[in-house]
């Protein structure tokens, strides 16, 4: 319970400990703590930035999707239009072709008819001459009656 040199010894020890703590312990620990504080702050800021960027990206993605849908819609409607156009064109072509074929057939038939008529006319003339010659029982000069016959043929 006596106050003695221990007092001074303890003071010196205390001062030395405080000095050591001040020089070698406090600064590195505080530096680490400050650095971690900064790191965490940076991390939080980065996270916030990331969230904002993600939001932006989501918005952009939605826009792009919307645009793509619009384009797809356009393309589809265009294709539909073009399809019906093609069908219409094809129909028109078919109709035209049919008409053409029909006309050609008509022309051929007419030609055929004319041809047959011509032939028939010739044959009828021959028959008429033959018949007349038989009726007259004489030789009729074909050449002499040529004009007559032609006239007859044209009347048929």
């Amino acid at each position: 319970m006596n106050i003695n040199l221990t007092l001074i010894g303890q003071s010196i020890t205390f001062v030395l400990f405080v000095w050591f703590c001040m020089k070698f312990i406090w600064p590195p620990i505080m530096a680490a703590l400050d650095e971690r504080r900064k790191k965490i702050a940076d991390g939080l800021a980065a996270a916030e930035r990331g969230t904002r960027e993600q939001e932006l990206a989501q918005k952009r993605a939605a826009e792009v999707l919307h645009e793509a849908k619009q384009q797809a819609q356009d393309i589809i409607s265009q294709a539909q239009k073009r399809g019906s156009e093609i069908v219409d064109e094809a129909k028109q072509q078919a109709r035209d072709e049919g008409q053409r074929l029909l006309t050609a057939a008509h022309a051929e038939i007419e030609q055929e008819v004319n041809h047959a008529r011509e032939e028939l006319r010739g044959q009828v003339a021959n028959l008429a001459i033959a018949g007349a010659s038989k009726v007259l029982r004489r030789e009729v000069d074909a050449a002499a009656n040529e004009d007559l016959l032609k006239d007859l043929v044209s009347q048929l």
């Binding site: 319970m1 006596n2 106050i3 003695n4 040199l5 221990t6 007092l7 001074i8 010894g9 303890q10 003071s11 020890t13 205390f14 001062v15 400990f17 405080v18 050591f20 703590c21 001040m22 070698f24 312990i25 406090w26 600064p27 590195p28 620990i29 505080m30 530096a31 680490a32 703590l33 650095e35 971690r36 900064k38 790191k39």
Partner: protein, 285 residues
Amino acid sequence: MSSDALTSSEYIKHHLQNLTWGKLDGSWSFAHNAAEAKAMGFMAIHVDTMFWSTVLGLAFLYVFRKVAKNAHSGTPGGLQNFVEMIVEFVDTSVRGSFTAKNDLVAPMALTVFVWIFLMNMMDLIPVDWIPGITEAMGIEHMRIVPSADPNATFGMALSVFFLMLFYSIKNKGIGGFTGELTLQPFESKNVLLQAFFIPVNFLLEFVSLIAKPVSLSLRLFGNMYAGEMIFILIALMFSGGFAIGLFGGVLQLGWAIFHILIVTLQAFIFMTLTIVYMDMAHSEH
């Protein structure tokens, strides 16, 4: 119990006797009893107090230095986490009470807190364990709680006090410092009245100034001394037979658990008052 030959009062006295090495009759030697230690006067040193406080202080410095050397800002490991928790606790206390800028205060607060805490914690070791071992080794006296030795607490409080004086004078100048001591709390525009007030003020302020280190050290010393005394008294019960011994064991457990609170609280109070005193040295009233 160290021995049956001792009476209760001898046992208590034995436990309260520091291992004193001092100058007695012209030569340096260990004191064998309280009278010899008293006769040594100021020229003596409590070897046990010095030893245990230094060991505990070095243990504190070693652990904290180890962490400080490897301190990194990544995910802290167990020990680093623990140390950082204490450092941040001290740092928060300093930031809360100390408004000026001084790089000394926070490390000093940390040292005060941890060192006193460790020294107080020695109180929780059963009173006969370490003295029993040292007695077997031939050392007569051993007090293992340095903070129950007024030399240790006064040593710290005086160091804090001198730092306080130093920073007071450094920040306010000698004029400012003496002004603080003499020109308040009573002041007057009247020169004569003021001249009369100066000694009154000085008396009041000087007492309150001196009271700071005294109360700081005596508070810690008183708490630890009383705690140690109660542990010694409880230890006396162990020699009173099985039933009383068992009761003593329960008491010891209860007191030890309660004492953990006192140990921490006293370390915290010493630290906080150190910070507050340093703050007073830096700020004008």
